[in-house]
Amino acid sequence: MFEKSEIYLAGGEPIEFVHNGQRFRIHTVLSSWRESGGWWNRASDGLFRPDDGSRILWRVEAAPIGAMKTFEIEREEGVGLWRIRPTSRPA
């Protein structure tokens, strides 16, 4: 949980990250929020640390890069025949 994560940002928001050695792309941010820690639970070291343990969280839908593929699904109207073929993205 405390492992250092490799995160790629755009404008302060995460867009890609590496998890278990695999690079993921974030497709949707489901929600994002902020939390703070209970500072009174910490044993005091005499230093004033306002609101330690504050953090920002993102709940995201992500997939390994390359896992998302583009397909074309085709139906021939006359005979009702379906065809599926992989395609390159900008087609």
């Binding site: 994002s32 929020w33 306002p50 504050s54």
Partner: protein
């Protein structure tokens, strides 16, 4: 674009706000804001100090009060120019005598005052509660039942970016915004401020514990994070964008525009609306005097009577001071201040 905070609690919201009005006003000035509201909880004790520091910092004051409503909800009232300030004072005084949290009955009894006020239904309001439990019909009923009582009412969207979909989350703020849009009601953005900056959060926690007379614990502390502070315009636009996006709007322009319009409606003049710099003495007829001369004579006899009652007799020291303060010259000076 300069944002205006319409919902701000100072240290005069006892055991709630962390910062004195002066410091909040100075921070708003540093942000380049033109106006700012002070809406302390259940009182107006900070209003004059706030107005004075607004004058010093060239900020236009907006004054309101965040009052407790029945069923542990809250509603925020803002004064409008003209009779707004005196009406607000009356409402707060009447409420102290009412002996119970404000309710619809109280508002109806005092409708001649409340009709000079604007109302904001925020994240702690009855409407917000109804929307939390998806009672859209009930929320509209509450809004409509108070329609004739105020100049205008608005839905107040607040997001402290907390987790989940309860009050002060972005999702809830968006739900409030959608409710307003569905029924064509005005919606404004505020931050329900209680701190000057994020670093004040531990003070807010201690105040929560003191108010509830309970030891510091997650359940006692009101905040989930440290977002209830006086944010600058850019930070507020960021929040506005988040809420608008969650509500499915293309941008936050409408929300921000309505907020600015409401701020403009509620801006008061420190001199002509609040009466700063003038002295308020009772009119002669209030104490049963027919003229200014009779009032002076009455003042003298009452003062002498008071001396006897308080000191049991007239010492030379007391008499000297009394004569000085009742001298026509001194009184003329006081009158000069008034007229």
């Amino acid at each position: 674009m300069s944002f205006t905070h319409l919902h701000v609690a100072s240290g005069f919201s006892f055991k709630y706000g962390t910062t004195l009005p002066d410091a909040l006003v100075a921070k708003a000035r540093d942000f380049g804001m033109h106006s700012m509201a002070l809406t302390d909880r259940d009182g107006l004790s900070g209003a004059i100090r706030f107005t004075q520091s607004c004058l010093e910092n060239q900020i236009s004051p907006i004054i309101g009060v965040d009052i407790s409503y029945e069923n542990q909800t809250r509603i925020t009232l803002l004064a409008t120019p003209g009779k707004g300030w005196s009406s607000l004072v009356r409402v707060v005084t009447q409420l102290k005598n009412y002996g119970a949290p404000c309710d619809l009955n109280f508002l109806k009894q005092n409708s001649n005052y409340t009709q000079n006020l604007l109302a904001l239904h925020g994240p702690d309001s009855e409407i917000s509660r109804a929307l939390t439990s998806r009672r859209y019909d009930k929320a509209l009923l509450i809004f409509n039942s108070a329609r004739d009582l105020f100049i205008d009412q608005s839905i107040e969207c607040v997001s402290h970016l907390i987790y989940g979909d309860g009050p002060k989350s972005t999702t809830h703020a968006a739900r409030m915004l959608n409710f307003a849009r569905d029924h064509d009601l005005p919606a404004v953005l505020t931050n329900a401020v209680r701190m000057k900056s994020r670093e004040d959060a531990p003070i807010a926690d201690v105040l929560d514990a003191t108010r509830n007379l309970l030891p510091l614990h997650k359940k006692v502390v009101e905040r989930k994070n440290a977002e209830a502070f006086l944010k600058n315009s850019d930070e507020m636009i960021f929040i506005a964008d988040k809420i608008a996006a969650a509500a499915g709007e293309r941008n936050a322009n409408q929300l921000l525009k309505t907020t600015t319009e409401w701020a403009e409606r509620a801006v008061l003049s420190p001199q002509s609306d609040i009466g700063l710099g003038s002295i308020h003495l009772p009119e002669p007829d209030v104490v049963g005097a027919k003229s200014q001369l009779e009032l002076t004579a009455q003042l003298r006899s009452r003062a002498y009577a008071g001396v006897n009652w308080r000191y049991g007799g007239l010492s030379s020291e007391v008499e000297e001071r009394l004569n000085k303060e009742l001298s026509p010259l001194f009184l003329a000076w006081v009158m000069n201040l008034i007229f």
